[in-house]
């Protein structure tokens, strides 16, 4: 099984994040950048499938130079190799154009299975898997909490608002995963060392046959006009329970007309 895992580098959601004041893009320079958490679950799933069925696991990232840190980190979990789409013209690329670039890169890799996170912690779009499937003309099974593979057939259990659904499709397919699907492994010392020598291929836009004005700000289908800090909430009243905390709570709710 030829598996490609999409890995996005994002600013750490546990720290303060911001947009750049000059061009309203995500500030990556001053942020702690990490692998999008859901993508680690996608990597783990890929490794487990490889362990069961054999094959190869390739990491695919589109992102700036510093994304190589995340690529090495991803490789240290155990994948075989990585592809990094890297081109200065990509700065400012919107989601629609990102899907064009990733789809082009996927075509060169011709995978049986594309695994990715259900959503990124910065964009929170949840749209990439379906956009890629649309471009590649393959199936998208999204939000998996369980994936089973039987020959060419993939079956996914996915959470919905009302419960869950079981959906099925033939390879090739894109499957996006939630953190309920598995428990990602910690990189072993051996794998951390090995990751340093694993091949990372860099692809430029020219390699993918995409013109510079199809991406970046020039090719963007949407624009951020401005951004501002949202005023932090201020703390209100705090009481210490000395026997009537519950009653005081209800008094507050009543004053606010909730009861």
């Amino acid at each position: 099984m030829n598996i490609v895992v999409l890995v996005k580098q994002v600013p750490d959601s546990g720290a303060e994040r911001n947009l750049r004041t000059d061009d309203n893009t995500v500030d990556r320079a001053s942020a702690d950048n990490v692998i999008n958490e859901m993508d680690e679950y996608a990597i783990e799933e890929a490794l487990q499938i490889k362990e069961r069925l054999g094959g190869e696991v390739t990491i695919l990232t589109m992102g700036p130079q510093r994304a190589t840190e995340s690529i090495r980190k991803a490789l240290s979990m155990g994948p075989d190799k990585a592809v990094h789409v890297l081109d200065d013209a990509l700065h400012g690329t919107c989601a629609v154009a990102t899907s064009k670039v990733l789809a082009a890169a996927l075509r060169t890799l011709d995978p049986d299975l594309v695994l990715c996170g259900a959503e990124s912690t910065d964009g929170r779009g949840q749209i990439m898997p379906h956009m890629l499937a649309e471009r590649l003309g393959i199936a998208a099974l999204t939000g998996a909490r369980k994936l089973t593979i039987d020959g060419d057939q993939l079956t996914v259990e996915r959470q919905t608002e009302e419960g869950y659904e079981v959906v099925t499709a033939a390879k090739p397919a894109v499957v996006s995963v939630w953190d309920t699907i598995n428990e990602p492994r910690y990189p072993s010392f051996k794998n951390i060392m090995a990751a340093k020598k694993k091949p990372v291929q860099t692809l430029t836009l020219a390699d993918l046959g995409i013109a510079a004005d199809e991406v970046g700000f020039a090719g963007a289908t949407s624009v951020v006009l401005e951004h501002s800090k949202r005023p932090a909430r201020s703390a209100g009243r705090k009481v210490t329970d000395e026997g009537s905390g519950g009653q005081q709570l209800v008094e507050f709710l009543a004053a606010e007309k909730f009861v």
């Binding site: 949840q126 956009m131 998208a140 659904e165 079981v166 289908t221 949407s222 401005e226 329970d241």
Partner: protein, 319 residues
């Protein structure tokens, strides 16, 4: 005025979702609302009255077994055809998993920009998004194609504006290439008549401090008394106290109710990401230093197993 297409979301049990009524209310500011029902045979008839009540002038009924039987792609294909034919002023969907997925495919099909998780949309197409755990406000605009926007639930107050909606049946022909993912089974797990988490005007959430799955009955009891939904922190979900679909936060649901009550939740930044924009926040936590108090309008420092039962009793008394 040009039509504004609103993609309808509904549940079998409760009919049209509140977020769809919000979308219709919003659509009236932008043009003439037309509701698009994408569902199985007979789906539109059950929803027509409610959609009209909130101002839908027209209902496009795209009904077929295949729309229900295959994931997302058929809906996006039908919607794309409709957009090409009607040339609407905007296309509005709910910021639910499916709403975003349909919108994503539509964006590719039409080579059109897309904005997700929008909380306000001005008549000129400028959208407001609150990003990065509620810390940054962004104004953005689609620059290629029409405004294609998914709206975060609880962003608009639904207001009725009765209209008599005419129903137009849309012919559905689903290509084989859109029938790649078959739905084998749909299992409903909603145990009660509680409102849906993202749509509820009151949410009562429990964290690790609740201690066990059994103890969540206390969280549920308070939620039910207030007519609210139940939520949980990731620590509570990871500990197996409550199912994953009720997780609030960065990697769970984003909620923006009128009232959010956090019980035994410390208020980590990733939890705040999902509840920061709630109107009123109340917290009960035994640790007076818990960060949740930094954003609570009212906080009780105390043991939730003492405070909550007393509050429940007090609410009962007042009823």
């Amino acid at each position: 005025m040009a039509e504004v297409l609103v993609v309808v979301e509904a549940t079998r049990e409760f009919g049209v979702k509140k977020v769809t009524l919000e979308l219709l209310t919003l659509a009236r500011e932008l043009g003439t609302p037309s509701a698009v029902v994408l569902g199985g045979p007979g789906a539109a008839a059950q929803l027509a009255e409610k959609l009209g009540e909130y101002g839908a002038q027209k209902i496009y009924a795209a009904e077929s077994e295949e729309i229900d039987g295959y994931l997302v792609a058929p809906k996006a294909a039908v919607l794309a055809d409709l957009v090409r034919r009607v040339q609407p002023a905007a296309v509005l969907l709910a910021s639910s998993q499916e709403g975003k997925e349909i919108a994503g495919r539509l964006a590719v099909k039409l080579d059109n920009g897309i904005l997700t998780d929008v909380s306000e949309l001005a008549a000129d197409g400028t959208a407001t998004q609150v990003v990065f755990a509620g810390s940054v406000i962004v104004k953005a605009k689609v620059t290629r194609g029409l405004p294609l926007v998914t709206l975060r639930p609880n962003s608009v107050t639904p207001a009725p504006a009765p209209a008599t909606a005419t129903v137009e049946q849309v012919e559905v022909q689903v290509a084989d290439s859109d029938k790649l993912v078959r739905v084998v089974e749909r299992v409903a797990e909603q145990k009660s008549a509680r409102p849906e988490l993202t749509e509820a005007s009151v949410v009562v959430s429990g964290g690790r401090g609740v201690g066990s799955a059994e103890n969540f009955a206390l969280v549920e009891e308070l939620a039910d008394l207030l007519g609210g939904a139940v939520g949980a922190s990731r620590a509570a979900v990871d500990s197996g106290f409550y199912p994953h679909q009720f997780q609030v936060g960065q990697t769970g649901k984003t909620v923006a109710p009128q009232l959010y009550i956090a019980l035994g939740i410390s208020g980590a930044i990733q939890h705040r990401a999902g509840m920061q924009t709630s109107k009123t926040i109340v917290a009960v936590n035994k640790d007076s230093e818990a960060p949740i108090f930094e954003l609570a309008d009212f906080g009780v420092v105390g043991d939730l197993f003492k405070v909550v039962p007393q509050a429940i009793e007090e609410i009962r008394k007042r009823k």
